[in-house]
């Protein structure tokens, strides 16, 4: 398959994840959408690494995977803390910082 096929597939997954981030009400659902978007980025990195025979793309993929896992851990801890304080994780109700 040409490089474009992988890039278009990654763009499609990215768009689906973006749709999830924009439309989900639940904070955990929003986090799942972000996961999809980061996965699409990883597909891009690995395909460029393969088609340019450059190992840097694989290294960056490992880094993004590790950073994503850390981000999920912190994000879910924040969600649990918010749930303890507010008894809801509906994103529409979390408007404390709204001016």
């Amino acid at each position: 398959m040409p490089l474009q096929a992988y890039l278009v597939l990654a763009a499609l997954v990215f768009a689906i994840g973006l749709f999830g981030v924009l439309t989900r009400r639940n904070a955990v659902g929003i986090l799942l959408g972000i996961e999809l978007m980061l996965n699409a980025v990883n597909i891009n990195l690995v395909s460029f690494a393969r088609f340019r025979a450059d190992v840097g793309g694989l290294v960056f993929t490992m880094f993004t995977i590790a950073i994503t896992v850390a981000e999920v851990a912190v994000g879910l801890a924040i969600i649990i803390a918010i749930f303890r304080a507010r008894r809801t994780i509906e994103a529409d109700h979390l408007d404390l910082l709204r001016g």
């Binding site: 439309t23 955990v28 996961e35 999809l36 340019r52 025979a53 290294v59 529409d92």
Partner: protein
């Protein structure tokens, strides 16, 4: 049709269906336990098609193993699993679909116009050897910073999730 072409369309279809399930499923638990692992494993299979079996293993261990487990625990702690409260509704569906479609069309239009190599070059050597050398060579400092980041993230997660007493 070579095996790679068949595999690409098969895995791509599974990946898109799994991703759509994650964002469209009415039941958040199904999205996290069923569709998210499907999408993540399909992404790992794409890595395999791109001749990176090591990243396929990393993807399985960290995403399909770790992330899904944490997400399931978070859902169990914040939702009442019995009853109707786990049903999810979405908002701004039309606006979100328009914006996501615009992003997809924009990126695809940009990608398709560019002239890129259509056939991958032969690999420069054993992938694991190259990856290991790169991790301790030019990317050594970044790897150490990543270790620091993981420790800080773990401490931060513990701090946020702690109880007051």
């Amino acid at each position: 049709m070579t095996a790679e072409v068949v595999g690409f369309w098969l895995v791509g279809a599974v990946l898109v269906v799994g991703s759509l399930g994650v964002v469209l499923s009415r039941n958040l638990f199904h999205a996290a336990v069923l569709y998210l692992p499907i999408a993540l494993v399909a992404t790992g299979a794409i890595f395999w098609l791109l001749e990176s079996p090591f990243l396929f293993g990393v993807q399985l261990l960290l995403y399909a193993g770790g992330v899904v487990t944490i997400v399931v625990f978070a859902i169990m702690l914040t939702e009442r699993l019995v009853g109707a409260s786990i049903r999810q509704s979405s908002r701004f569906v039309f606006n979100g679909a328009v914006l996501a479609a615009a992003v997809f069309v924009g990126v695809t239009g940009f990608v398709v116009q560019r002239a890129v190599p259509s056939a991958p070059p032969p690999p420069a050597g054993e992938q694991m050897v190259l990856l290991g050398r790169a991790l301790v060579g030019p990317f050594g400092v970044a790897l150490q910073l990543l270790a620091v980041l993981l420790v800080v993230a773990l401490l931060g997660a513990l701090y946020f999730a702690r109880t007051e007493d």
